[in-house]
């Protein structure tokens, strides 16, 4: 599922008038140095050839013209305000009123924002038509694109993608104006907007289905008979049954009217717990990233079959959204993942998940937990939930361990840590909580396969 695009983003930005800060360019400073040094040496040594050395520099400096645009119009807006990780988008930059100056655009990206190669000017803009030629790019601070001189208006598209989910500021756009002699520079700095980057959902085609489902119409065949599509057996006809379901071959064999029975189709409530309390390891593949990607995949997979999906984010505080249906609910879940825990915290960790309202954690729900199990309080909460009869499935996303020195004491400490982790997992399995490992690379279907091939028995 592609994240919803904000179609209005490209046109919503307004052109702001900004005043450039003008100064002599470094090139002009070097020419002045050459000219002054040549002339001074010529006068001191009385050698006219040194005055000749200064001549080209003096000529070039004499060509500098004082006319400059007082203000230029700048608008910068991303092509989409909502992206998923590594989804390519464009920053559309338009500059107006720069006269015959050449314009150079340079993006200083913030954390996780990766500028991509520009793919040419936007439609309707005379970008790259000036003396600067085509755009050049590079991550080391070199210009991202150039707008040509000429009519004074230009636009360019600067591709970028975001490598890690979150609410990301794109960075700062630096605009440099240069006159045709490259002697005067005007600089403008523009703060770029913030973009919501949703976690990239992992691949998941199959689903875990509980053996007991609430009596609400859905897509999962349940144990009880009903009006579904899946054939479950044959029974004797009783008055009131539908005649169209009479099984005539069985009726002929037994001599009495026989009826086909079908499984009732029910929905299930799925509550996903994303453990965002630990963010260790390489940025982009930390347990936090994996937990969000797995949660996004699970939410997408279950919403696709009209299950009701809720989310609980376990971080500094517990944030939740009650189970709901539909594509719009998917974006509510995504927005909850991106929400700032300081701004939207709804329950302190002291309260914990066990104090969530009944609407957020309906009885009989399937609880999928994406967690590295590093937080003891979450482990205790899961034990408590299991003892209250919830069906829990833990997807272990721990993919990093303590690193450090290689001396004997450090090795011993790491070994004890690993044993503690194994003990935590063993105790959870002993409580009847299934636990699978997921590395974030493979499809979620692989670790979940033992539980998706048949219904998962919900024990109370």
């Amino acid at each position: 599922m592609n994240p919803r695009r904000d179609k209005a983003a490209g046109t919503a930005s307004q052109t702001s008038q900004v005043r450039p800060v003008w100064s002599l360019s470094a090139h002009a400073g070097r020419l002045i140095t050459l000219a002054l040094a040549g002339l001074i040496i010529a006068v001191i040594t009385r050698r006219p050839e040194f005055a000749g050395v200064a001549a080209p520099a003096v000529l070039l400096l004499a060509a500098r013209r004082p006319e400059r645009p007082e203000r230029i119009g700048v608008s910068a807006s991303p092509s989409a305000m909502r992206l998923s990780e590594d989804e390519q988008a464009d920053l559309q930059v338009a500059v107006t009123g720069y006269g015959d100056y050449s314009v150079e655009l340079l993006v200083h990206p913030r954390f996780a924002v990766v500028p991509g190669p520009p793919d040419g000017p936007a439609d309707g803009g005379p970008a790259d038509g000036g003396p600067g030629g085509g755009p050049v790019t590079g991550p080391g601070g070199q210009p991202a694109a150039e707008l040509g001189g000429g009519p004074g208006d230009g636009a360019s598209r600067l591709p970028f993608h975001i490598g890690r989910s979150g609410r990301r500021s794109l960075g700062v756009l630096e605009i440099t104006l240069r006159d045709r002699w490259r002697l005067t520079e005007g600089r403008v700095t523009v703060e770029l907007p913030t973009v919501d980057c949703y976690p990239r959902p992992a691949a998941q085609q199959t689903r875990v289905v509980l053996s007991r489902l609430p009596s609400r119409l859905g897509d999962h065949p349940s144990r009880s008979s009903g009006e579904g599509m899946e054939f479950t057996g044959v029974r004797e006809f009783v008055p009131g049954d539908r005649q169209r379901r009479i099984n005539w071959p069985a009726t002929t064999r037994r001599g009495r009217l026989q009826l086909n029975t079908f499984a009732a189709e029910r929905t299930q409530n799925v509550v996903i717990i994303a453990d965002a309390s630990s963010d260790v390891g390489e940025p982009g593949s930390t347990p936090l990233d994996l937990a969000f990607r797995g949660s996004a995949a699970a939410a997408h997979a279950y919403l696709a079959v009209r299950d009701r999906v809720g989310l609980v984010v376990y971080q500094r505080s517990v944030r939740w959204i009650a189970p709901g249906l539909g594509a719009r609910h998917y974006y509510r879940i995504m927005d909850l993942m991106l929400a700032d825990p300081r701004a939207t915290g709804r329950l302190s960790l002291g309260g914990g998940i066990t104090r969530l309202p009944r609407a957020a954690l309906p009885p009989g729900s399937l609880i999928l937990v994406f967690s590295p199990l590093l937080d003891r309080r979450l482990v205790e909460t899961l034990r408590d939930l299991r003892e209250r009869g919830f069906s829990i499935l833990i997807i272990d996303v721990l993919n990093a361990g303590p690193s450090g020195r290689t001396d004997g004491l450090s090795r011993l400490a790491r070994r004890i840590w690993r044993m503690e982790q194994e003990a935590i997992r063993f105790s959870l399995r002993e409580l009847g909580i299934p636990l699978v490992r997921w590395d974030g690379v493979q499809s979620l279907d692989e670790p979940l396969a033992p539980y998706t091939r048949r219904v998962m028995v919900s024990r109370r």
Partner: protein, 181 residues
């Protein structure tokens, strides 16, 4: 790629300018000091082009070695190495009595070095210099004029030399004023 080519050209021109101005090295201690200064400035100027712009990543969480390296790189970026090399090379050239054409060639090479440095640091293509081509040609013509006037046998004494210098200066100023604004 264009910027890399410009940076290589700037480095080669800097090396050529230093070598051209240093030969023959006859000025003793002052010459050695100037040559050292010119070489250092040329090296740091090339390093500045190779380092590029200041990275935007915060340095707060870097280890001390990397932070020290960043500080050195920032030093290379901040100081005007190219200007220093130009001054050192011209003074070095003035220390020994070389023929006027020798100085003229050095001036042309220095101008090319400055343009190559500018192209490398702004990641611009050489075509951006096209509007300046007539001025550069006129400047090189004046340079040739000055070299020629220096090579011609002039009157004797310091006054004659001073007149030659003033004439060259006047030619430059007139050339600059005559340009359309």
């Amino acid at each position: 790629m264009t910027a890399a080519r410009s940076a290589v050209a700037a480095g080669l021109l800097a090396a050529g300018c230093v070598a051209w101005s240093a030969i023959p090295l006859t000025a003793g201690g002052a010459g050695i000091a100037l040559l050292t200064t010119a070489i250092a400035c040329a090296v740091f100027s090339a390093a500045r082009l190779a380092l590029g712009a200041t990275p935007v990543e915060p340095v707060a969480f870097l280890n001390p070695v990397v932070r020290a390296g960043r500080s050195m790189a920032d030093l290379a970026r901040v100081l005007p190495w190219a200007e220093g090399m130009v001054v050192a090379v011209l003074v070095l050239e003035a220390l020994h009595r070389s023929p006027p054409w020798h100085t003229g060639l050095l001036g042309a090479a220095l101008l090319a070095y400055l343009f190559a440095t500018h192209l490398a640091e702004t990641w611009a293509r050489p075509s951006v210099l096209r509007p300046q081509a007539p001025l550069i040609a006129a400047g090189l013509g004046l340079l040739a004029l000055a070299v020629g006037s220096a090579a011609l046998p002039a009157g004797t004494g310091s006054t004659a030399d001073l007149i030659v210098v003033l004439a060259a200066l006047a030619a430059i100023v007139v050339g600059g004023l005559a340009l359309p604004r």
